[in-house]
Amino acid sequence: MSWDVISETITQVLGVLLLSPLYAGILDRLKAVVEGRRGPSVLQPYYDLVKLSRKETLLPRNAGNIFLNGPYLVFSIYLLISFVIPVVYPRPVIFTPTVDFLGGALLFSLAGFIKVYEAMESSSNLVTLGVSRALSFSYLGEATLLTVFIAVALITGTNNPYVTMQYVQSLGHYLFLPHVSATVAFYMLWLFETGRLPLESSGMSEMGMIDDSLVYEYSGKGLMLLKWGSYIKSYLLGSVFLNVFLLPWGLLTGPLGAILDLGVMFLKWMVLILVTLVVETSLAKFRLFKVQDFLAVALVLSLISLILTVIGNG
């Protein structure tokens, strides 16, 4: 293990850890501006995290070990994923081979699994309502995540995201139809996985609540870790989308390159944020059950990508 690899690893992991809340802050601020509001500061997510870290933890009467300790594990899972996929630096870093693309998808599922279990331990009606909703869509979400990851794997014949990233840098491969449909499918999935689908709320927040219900009973440090974890998750999935699907170019190598990559990623993220801003503010509100149709379209798109690739290989 060389010092270069160590420094590149530190840059990538710290970059993910420290900058992920910033993008959420920027998106919220720009969204407020588009809606004619002044909006919160772009640093608001950081203020929230600091505030929560100082608050006491409220433990629902029936909850116990999983509720109290689950957030540490969820946060660690997202942190581990930040070692394994190209989210800042374009070459493998320390521990990258721990899981491949598919293994990474299973780690995301593990985090989701623990979030459901810790939420259920609170034995709250509102939480159970939200868990019920989250689970209702997981069959489509999980299948789409797998097929999207595999869609790019099949194009290159390997399940290694770093190889795929280099492969699609060529314009011919980038504009290959299976890659294009997988890109659209992944973007739709990213909107769902990061809770950015506009749902009909009908005035009561619980009516359209899915993701937020899982942290409904949390407070203090537990809530801080779960919120921070969700920022990291959003960053990880968004960055994979940018680096392997939408904008695979521009990242530099070497220890200095790794630091400059933080700036490159910032520019890429601005593109993603602007696209998302347009989508979020122009898309009509969904009814809850329409989420299924939305995900089904994403799954079909990724499936089309797979079928085209396999038939093309034959």
Partner: protein, 583 residues
């Protein structure tokens, strides 16, 4: 050479002793249930030892032995009925004879013994014979197909011994015979297995679900090793298996019967195992075949042991409906069930995670390796397996929530469940031993042999390191815990909009979104409560009713005590028999 001979002799004596011990357990059941279960546990331990000495089928023996050991131990602690211990040890003896058989006749003897004792056990427990009859009926359909396949094999080799065959027809017949026993899709019998397994005692349910269906897998694997490779069967098995994964998991998700939902989950797991068997048969690439074999073996281990643990959880619960059951949770049950369901949901770093990962990688590599239209079969199967895993996660979350997480705390119990739960990550580590290859990446901090790589002749595909996930996650969690500082905790009531009510949301309600969203598939009927029907079971019933109507009409028209018609039948039958003999 000499040591090999001694090993063979040792194995022979061990086999005899193991069988005799199980027969003793059967005899002891007439005197004392507990003594019978204890001796059955000893016999199971000997069988594990025997399995460790064995070669190609080692995994099947060791896993079966472990399932019996856990189930017998649970029965020794909780079951006192002598009739039950008789049928329980009889079922184990039947499966043991099946696994140890050296020829088709021994195999069938064990198979029938297993079926009859299990049938009696289900009937005795429920004092209701319909589930038992259902089980027996499908068991005999399975036996008929097996006999047909074995006769064809005998015709070719002229012996009942397991000899290599050149024809694939015996494999086709026996495979469908075994899949009936596994509750799999080709006969559209998605419901018979839950009816039977859901109506047995927890320890027997675990044996039926984990070990009896494993005997079916063993049977297919054994016949595959005797017959030439057939890609057509491979493709069919992959599609049937993946379809069973999807629908088994879906019905498990919407089922509100506690053991029924676990039995549906068994169909899902068996579907995945069948998919792995199909991959093995489809691929001509030796590197990919070795990886598919790894996937199959890991799935066998993961499903059998996790399902055993989950059925034993049912033994600590009063009631059958997930919505109305009553129980108390303990640390052992909560953590044990969580680990078991994590494995059943196919999550790393448990053995179930390694199984799902390896199966999906196999399917996707196969779609590249085979390519073209044929390559679409493993591809579509992979997507169906992915969707099935989503439902499976939901079903397992519901199971854990309502058998443990939301229940009030009680006394400490369920240590056996915790033990099996802890095995899930441990077995993920042991899965390295089954892997055809191991690798490392020293420059990236991964020491040698820490990775399980996946690959095919076209090159390497991917890889995972369950060991590193198991090491890194606790370390990162500890660092996070220490970095976030001491927490102040205050206990409060959960917020329910000030209603002051406790949890009123039921397990049934939790699955209702899916009942409504997939109402066309599930045939959901709207009423006072939402209910859904098994479309496959309905199809079978309609088929049966149609046949009954046809046979009544036929008998009234042509079998109305007319001597001349009977003469015509006899002549026709005679001609058919002559034709069959000559052909």
């Amino acid at each position: 050479m000499v040591s090999d001979m001694y090993l063979q002799i040792d194995k022979f004596y061990l086999e005899i002793v193991t069988l005799l011990t199980m027969i003793t357990a059967l005899a002891l059941s007439l005197w004392s249930a507990r003594a019978s279960h204890v001796v059955a546990a000893i016999s199971s331990s000997l069988f594990i030892l025997y399995g460790l000495y064995s070669g190609e089928f080692r995994v099947f023996y060791v896993v079966s032995g472990l399932v019996w050991l856990f189930s017998s131990t649970f029965s020794a602690l909780h079951d006192r009925e002598r009739w039950y211990s008789l049928t329980f040890s009889g079922t184990l003896l039947g499966i043991m004879i099946t696994l140890l058989s050296q020829n088709y006749l021994e195999f069938l003897t064990g198979w029938e013994l297993m079926t009859l004792f299990a049938y009696a056990s289900i009937g005795v427990y429920r004092r209701e014979w319909r589930p038992g009859y259902t089980f027996l009926a499908f068991g005999e359909v399975s036996t008929v197909l097996l006999i047909a396949g074995f006769i064809l094999a005998y015709q070719e080799t002229g012996t009942f011994l397991f000899h290599t065959l050149t024809d694939t027809l015996p494999l086709w017949f026996t495979t469908f015979g075994f899949t009936v026993k596994m509750g799999i899709f080709p006969f559209l019998v998605v419901e018979w297995l839950p009816i039977a397994h859901g109506n047995a005692k927890p320890s027997l349910s675990s044996v039926l679900s984990a070990s009896m269906t494993l005997a079916g897998v063993y049977g297919i694997y054994k016949m595959m090793s005797l017959c030439p490779q057939t890609q057509a069967l491979g493709g069919v098995l992959i599609l049937i298996g993946a379809f069973s994964v999807l629908f088994g998991a879906l019905y498990s998700y919407v089922s509100d019967h506690m053991k029924g939902m676990l039995a549906f989950s068994t169909i899902e797991n068996n579907g995945a195992i069948l998919t792995a068997l199909g991959s093995l048969e489809l691929s001509a690439d030796p590197v990919l075949k070795a990886f598919a074999q790894f996937s199959l073996m890991v799935y066998v281990v993961a499903h059998s042991l996790a399902k055993t643990g989950l059925f034993l959880v049912a033994g600590y619960v009063h009631g059958e409906s997930m919505s109305t059951l009553s129980t108390q949770r303990s640390f052992s049950l909560e953590i044990g069930t969580t680990l078991l369901t994590a494995s059943m949901s196919g999550l790393l770093p448990t053995v179930g995670g390694v199984a799902v990962w390896s199966l999906l990688e196999t399917l996707f590599m196969e779609s590249i390796s085979v390519g073209g239209i044929l390559g679409l079969i493993p591809l579509l199967a992979g997507v169906m397996v992915g969707m099935g895993e989503g439902f499976a996660t939901g079903a397992m979350a519901r199971f854990t929530s309502f058998t443990s997480l939301v229940r009030p705390r009680g006394g400490e119990r369920g240590r056996l469940v915790l033990l099996i739960g802890v095995l899930m990550p441990v077995l993920a580590l042991l899965s390295y031993l089954l892997s055809p290859e191991m690798a490392g990446a020293a420059s990236l901090g991964m020491f040698s042999n820490s990775l399980i790589p996946s690959g095919y002749s076209g090159g390497s595909f991917g890889g995972i390191s369950p060991l590193y996930v198991l090491i890194i996650l606790p370390i990162l969690s500890l660092i996070t815990y220490l970095a976030s500082g001491r927490r102040r905790v205050r206990t409060v009531d959960p917020w329910d909009n000030g209603s002051g009510r406790r949890l009123t949301y039921t397990s049934f309600g939790m699955a209702n979104n899916i009942r409504l969203m997939l109402r066309f598939v599930l045939r959901t009927r709207k009423g006072a409560v939402e209910t859904s029907a098994d479309v496959f079971w309905r199809a079978i019933l309609q088929l049966v009713r149609g046949y009954v109507r046809f046979s009544r009409a036929f008998s009234r028209a042509y079998m109305n005590s007319s001597i001349s018609w009977y003469m015509i039948y006899m002549i026709l039958a005679f001609i058919v028999v002559i034709l069959v003999v000559f052909l």
